[in-house]
Amino acid sequence: MRHLIPVRQISLGCALLVASFSQSFAAGEVVVTAGLECNAVTPLHAKRAEWREYGVINKDNTKDLWVSCPLDRIDASSFSDRHFSAALSVFNTESSPNSTAEISCYLKEMLGSKRVSGKNRSAPLDSGKQTILGVCDSEPKDWTSSFIWVCRLPAGTGISSLMTESHLPGISNSLLAQQLASSGVACGD
């Protein structure tokens, strides 16, 4: 029998660096928000979802939950050459031992209703673990385009945080990229 484990009890698998920098940054503005912004892709999937203060979680024992997570993009000026980085924190509350779940996410750039670019990220995640997936320093196809994460969440897995950044070109100018790199998470192409 599977039990849900509150996120606060999860032993995090990744020890990421807490913000503390001594070097200067030309990094842009990072928007950090909760994973509960993610929506189930259909009403049927919504019945499998549970929204908690720590994010969205698939409470169904057997079926995957597909969610879409709208992202904030702060660009502000059409004459500025800004790149886009995005990351999300995923977790696995599955309590059964050896219950590794494969979480897959797609970062999609949308121009109107048309997808103009997309990148895939996935990670096997052991029970009780949490990690971050990211796509860094992507060059938007258009300054008016929007970004969205679409993720497949196996039973017991969820999304706790969403992070985006609009920054000067170059991975060295991305705060998110440096955050992920410092914890061993690759987010470039």
Binding site: P6, V7, R8, Q9, I10, S11, L12, C14, A15, L16, L17, V18, A19, F21, S22, Q23, S24, F25, A26, A27, G28, E29, V30, V31, V32, T33, A34, G35, L36, E37, A46, K47, A49, E50, W51, R52, E53, Y54, G55, D72, I74, A76, S77, F79, S80, D81, S89, F91, Q130, I132, S160, S161, L162, M163, L168, L175, Q179, S183
Partner: protein, 622 residues
């Protein structure tokens, strides 16, 4: 019992000890007065009668039997001395110290009259110099008539409810006749007001009671000959006031103003003394204790407001501060109000008014404001109960609904913030295409901070704005020091300019200041905000006047913290008063003392009562 006779033996003793004619006449009058209307009920008292307390002494001046209890030990031992089966004390009960008398170190001042509860009838009551006495509990069995009640120098005596069974002030041959109340903490003379008073000449002296607003004399019988009523609160400063406010209820309004502003009171009555601290209407209420705790301030400042009177309050933030939501229960239930002026037109109970202020928001604050439609029901089945309108999300169902709202944060390096602040504050506009290169130069150390700032403040574009000297100084404070300048400091620098110094000279002084130099290191760093504030606006359409309060919690999620149990942490819990004063949005401000980590995010969870909605969420980070 109507009134009782004086034992002839005692009367003889009184006359022997007190030959003044007036007293003799008074005694005779007392006998005649008391005997006439209630002759059938009257009886003579003898010390041997059952229930009559023995006499141990007499007042020097009047010869009236005196029972003096100077200390708490005297009170505690009263029954032992007097006997526990007597209840009628035919003389003056004097409680407390004499003027200039002190309590011996081995004894205690009077604080509790509980041991006197055996007393049912006394001739007169004199209480004086009893700073430890807060009430007269213990005298609650007193009934019938009494000749005088004198209470003086009881600065903590808050009520005389124990005297509720006293029927009348009446001459019983025990000296003076009437009521004297001086220097107490009484707010009302009830229940004495409900008693009667008889006699052609009886005193009513009520003065110097800083909280006393309700001081009608006993209403039945005769009126006092020459009442002395002064130096109390509104309604109790003259005979005219007593008559004007007769029969009206008085309620206490507690006013608190936290540091950062003042509250002024108007339109009640000119010269109204507001508190024992001497504040008056027209004067400002400020933090009197300078950084006193909230709890201390919450109970500071009170004013009795007679019904039918309105009181206008105005909260005025000092320079550099803004008004926060006002907390008050004066309008039914604990509520929060925006705005800076309120009128309490009619009070129905004691209530409080609590004004707080916050520093002006700095120019480089990053804020994110969200429409509340981003909120969702915690239980998907309850989504149908939530109505999403242009005004925000609202519980349209009949039962409480738990909602979750993501609260995004905007994080950027200080170098980025500085350049943004220079554009918005020095040039008064949005960044242009040079923004990125300026950030890049600052970040790569190809241009130092002072040089960048000079570029802005010495630019033709800045000069073309034509800022006044004061606006110039305020801008320097805001951009270079990240704070509003104190008025004194602003005045100093404005005077420097008036004396002929150039703006460049002032700018150089700011750039050379220790405060600015301490910030320059930070410009190169990415630092988390030192303070976060969440502003949530609520609305309430609930028709019920006293619906249950809604409640909210704020959680902090930390996706990149490795320690177990910290990835989602409850931070703040608060209640949202219901019903709201109106359907106008009701702002709630939450302040956090500790800074969140870089990638932390907030989630607001609220249990919304039916009719209650959230309109918007704004997160400010400094």
């Amino acid at each position: 019992m109507g009134c009782f006779w004086i034992n002839p033996l005692k009367s003889v003793r009184q006359m022997a000890n007190k030959p003044e004619a007036s007293v003799v006449v008074a005694a005779i009058l007392a006998v005649l007065f008391c005997s006439a209307p209630v002759l059938s009920e009257a009886h003579e008292l003898n010390e041997d009668d059952a229930g009559v307390c023995p006499i141990f002494g007499y007042e020097d001046s009047t010869g009236v039997p005196l029972y003096r209890l100077a200390t708490q030990e005297d009170v505690d031992g009263f029954a032992d001395v007097i006997g526990d089966d007597c209840y009628l004390l035919d003389g003056v009960l004097h409680i407390g110290l004499l003027e200039n008398e002190t309590v011996e170190s081995s004894l205690s001042p009077v604080t509790d009259l509980g041991p006197l509860e055996q007393l049912e009838v006394i001739g007169a009551l004199r209480i004086g110099n009893v700073p430890g006495l807060t009430n007269l509990d213990g005298l609650h069995n007193l009934r019938g008539d009494i000749q005088f009640i004198s209470i003086k120098d009881a600065p903590n005596l808050q009520n005389i409810d124990a005297l509720s069974n006293i029927d009348a002030i009446k001459d019983l041959g025990h000296g003076g006749l009437g009521v004297v109340v001086e220097r107490t903490a009484l707010k009302s003379l009830r229940p004495l007001t409900n008693a009667a008073a008889y006699g052609d000449f009886w005193d009513f002296i009520v003065r110097e009671n800083p909280l006393l607003a309700d001081c009608e004399w006993p209403q039945d019988g005769t009126s006092p000959q020459s009442p002395i009523i002064r130096d109390n609160l509104l309604g109790c400063n003259s005979v005219a006031e007593v008559i004007e406010f007769a029969g009206r209820d008085r309620y206490e309004l507690k006013v608190t103003a936290l540091p950062g502003g003042t509250v002024s009171l108007e339109s009640l009555a000119p010269g109204l003394i507001m508190t024992s601290r001497g504040l008056e209407t027209g004067a400002a209420v400020t933090d009197p204790l300078n950084n006193a705790s909230d709890d201390e301030l919450r109970h500071w400042g009170s004013i009795p407001v007679p019904d039918g009177h309105y009181l206008e309050l105005e909260a005025s933030p000092e320079s550099g501060y803004a008004s926060l939501a006002i907390e008050s229960d004066c309008f039914g239930g604990k509520q929060y109000f925006g705005g800076e002026r309120w009128v309490i037109s009619s009070m129905e109970d004691d209530c409080f008014f609590y004004a707080s202020f916050q520093p002006d928001t700095a120019i480089d604050i990053d804020s994110v404001t969200l429409h509340s439609s981003v909120c969702r029901a915690a239980d998907y089945a309850n989504e149908q109960e939530l109505m999403r309108r242009e005004g925000g999300i609202q519980n349209a169902g009949m039962a409480p609904v738990e909602v979750l709202c993501p609260v995004p944060r905007l994080v950027s390096p200080n170098s980025w913030k500085l350049v943004k602040a220079l554009y918005s504050n020095a040039l008064g506009r949005l960044p242009d295409r040079y923004f990125d290169s300026r950030v890049r130069k600052l970040s790569s150390d190809t241009q130092n901070t002072a040089s960048l700032i000079r570029d802005f403040y010495l630019s033709p574009e800045f000069a073309a704005r034509g800022l006044s000297n004061e606006a110039y100084i305020r801008s320097l404070y805001q951009v270079l020091l990240d704070r509003s300048g104190a008025e004194q400091g602003i005045e100093y620098w404005v005077n420097q300019l008036k004396m002929g110094n150039s703006r460049n000279f002032v700018l150089d002084n700011f750039l050379a200041s220790q405060e600015f130099l301490a910030r320059t290191d930070a410009f190169a760093d990415l630092t988390s905000p030192t303070q976060t504030e969440l502003e949530i606006k609520f609305a309430n359409d609930h028709p019920a006047p006293y619906a249950p309060d809604s409640s909210c919690k704020v959680f902090i999620n930390s996706p990149n913290i490795a320690s177990v149990g910290d990835s989602s942490k409850e931070s703040v819990y608060f209640r949202v008063p219901s019903p709201a004063f109106s359907s106008e949005p009701l702002p709630i401000f939450l302040g956090y003392e500790s800074a969140p980590a870089l990638l932390d995010n907030y989630v607001l969870t609220c249990r919304l009562q039916p009719g209650v909605g959230i309109t918007k969420l704004t997160l400010l980070e400094k």
